[in-house]
């Protein structure tokens, strides 16, 4: 037994060293992609000029591009990637469904509904310009509520329907239903508000003001903290409700904390960047493939790093480096995420119910 222990211990040390190595690599990847994202944009600027502009402010136009557009956009991409991926990870564990994600289960739609209520319903009371100040928080809060309401609805569905694919289809139905409600609201609203809403739905990573970025950053930090403190609860929930209860977890309380975290993460992103698909569902799977673990102590940081990288990469691709046209970032994330989702569906046919 003694030698066995030594072998086990040394093997564990190896694994810890492996893990540290991968995490260091991922950290460098995030830094490199973040830098590249600042370098590439619709106006082509040489890297040397970018560095010049950051350290000596001589060229006013260049400085504006870098500080007013590129850096906020790269920061937004990083935050959005982290937020959506973490919300996806939490949803997959809570619903025990590998196909769960903020976009496919309609959480983003719920957030859109919240936004629609604010922009189409109340912005006549608060003048269009006031969206800048307190309006940002109102927008975010409305998104959280919308996202949270859909989360609870999906929870009710998945308690009654065990089949993963059925829940998925119902999620799509839910999204369509919500879209229909938003369309009706659009039909009855006036022109200015409609325009404001349509611009929001096209929302990309680049349109955020510093104030909005601040709201996004604070909310996402809160969401990440809620996520980190639920690490033990998430691990217990992997076993399902009965086992989690039998080892002493207050399942209702755990769900409340996790739902709050997920709604804040997915809701805030949707409020300021519009619905962005397939990052939330795909990134947790990439993290599982790389680390081959189910332990959230590893999966949470892994999802943070990979989520940030994937979103930064998607943003770089959407800039079409070398050309001056820009793709909608939503299409890029779909193209990146969908292959992963298809792979998971095909692999999962072997043991349905597992993830």
């Amino acid at each position: 037994m003694k030698t066995d222990e030594i072998i086990t211990n040394s093997r564990q040390k190896w694994q810890i060293r492996d893990k540290t190595l991968i995490f260091t690599g991922l950290l460098f990847l995030v830094i490199i992609l973040f830098t590249l994202d600042i370098f590439f944009g619709s106006v082509s600027i040489k890297p040397s000029e970018v560095i010049h502009a950051i350290f000596n402010s001589s060229d006013k136009a260049l400085e504006t591009i870098i500080f007013k557009f590129r850096i906020p956009k790269a920061l937004t991409a990083l935050i959005v990637g982290i937020a959506l991926s973490l919300s996806g990870l939490q949803m997959q564990t809570v619903f025990r469904n590998p196909m769960a994600g903020p976009y496919v289960l309609g959480i983003s739609s719920g957030a859109s509904l919240g936004v629609a209520f604010v922009i189409l319903g109340f912005s006549s009371q608060i003048s269009p310009g006031s969206i800048q100040g307190l309006g940002n928080w109102a927008l975010a809060a409305a998104s959280w509520l919308g996202a949270g309401a859909v989360m609870i609805l999906i929870m009710f569905i998945s308690v009654r329907v065990r089949d993963i694919m059925t829940v998925l289809i119902l999620g799509i139905m839910l999204s369509s239903g919500i879209s229909a409600i938003v369309s009706i609201m659009q039909y009855f609203t006036n022109e200015t508000m409609l325009k404001a809403y349509v611009i929001w739905t096209m929302g990309s990573l680049g349109n955020l003001t510093y104030q909005q970025l601040q709201v996004l950053l604070i909310s996402v930090c809160a969401g990440v903290i809620l996520n980190v403190i639920s690490v033990k609860m998430l691990n217990a929930l992997l076993l399902g409700e009965n086992y989690a209860t039998s080892i002493g977890l207050n399942v209702r309380f755990a769900r409340l904390i996790i739902f709050a975290g997920t709604s804040i993460l997915a809701g805030s992103v949707t409020a300021f960047c519009g619905p962005i698909g397939f990052i939330g569902i795909a990134v947790p799977h990439i993290a599982r493939i790389i680390f081959r673990t189910s332990d959230h102590k590893t999966l949470i940081p892994a999802t943070i790093f990979i989520g940030g990288s994937v979103m930064l990469l998607s943003d770089i691709i959407s800039q079409l480096p070398g050309s001056d046209s820009v793709l909608p970032v939503n299409s890029v994330t779909s193209l990146v995420g969908i292959p992963v989702v298809i792979w998971v569906i095909l692999r999962n046919r072997k043991y349905s119910g597992a993830f």
Binding site: A236, N242, Y243, S294
Partner: protein
Amino acid sequence: MEEKREILSFESLLIGYASGKNRKILLPPLNAIAYKGELIAMIGQNGIGKSTLLRTLTGLQDPLGGTIIINGNPISSYSRIDFALSIGYISTEPVRVSNMKVYDLVTLGRFPHTGWLGKLKGEDHDIIMDAIEKTGMQLFLKSYITELSDGERQRAMIARVLAQDTDLLVMDEPTAFLDIKSKYEIIHLLHDLSKKRGKTIIFSTHDLNIAVSESDKIWLILKDSFEEGAPEDLIIGGAFDQLFKDSLVRFNQADGSFTFRNEFKGNITISGEGISRLWTEKALNRAGYSVSSENAVMDIEVIKVPDGNKWILKNNQMIEEFSSVYDLVSWLSVNMI
């Protein structure tokens, strides 16, 4: 001798489901006691309420009446964590989490012992390794639970519940879906845990043979009664026959085996010795004949020959010779209607 310590008891316990004002009570009030170190098998027909009783004992479902006492305190007085420190549970629900290693699964058993973030201390690690060793899962420490066989996964689940370190373990059909070898290994493991570790284990099962040979006590759940006792006491008292009252299956009190109540075709006599005689008799029972000299319709003689056995069938009309039990029974089914 040490005083027997009560681990679990319930009195006038009513189990079932309540939704709104409708209460569906499954069984008459139940009373029983489980002592330290006892291995208790719960037996009853499908759908009679075994799982419901186990879920009620583990607090996953509220009782509709009566009291449940664990370690001297009613279960309603326990906090969530204290309750998880007193009773461990394995359900029939298979756990198939991909990318989860056996070690991770067993670690989850430490849930009620660790702090807010679930950080393991050295002592926790020792208990986890001990649980893995006790269940013989050392070689599978780093295996993914989705890649284990059903028997191995069940052992990993038992390791998890051992790591939870409770006096009382409750398991819902731990041997379902297992092959015969794994069934015996699992039950033997449970027997060992109850005897060497002093665990009180309550498990439901349909494997009457295993339950009879390995458990200290049987809780027999029938539609209108609840019988408690050593397996042998229940056999002597004829309680098992109650279990099969409405079916074609019959429990043989003499040797603990089961037989179908086949269509009776007549009495026969058998002469011969040892194992071959015994199994010939079993085959003839299956074919519908009982061994008795009263009004015997034929006599079968089992004779040892150098290269095996031969069977000679005699009645008042003929003599036939067969080289295997199969030939004998086949001939009977064709010629003796």
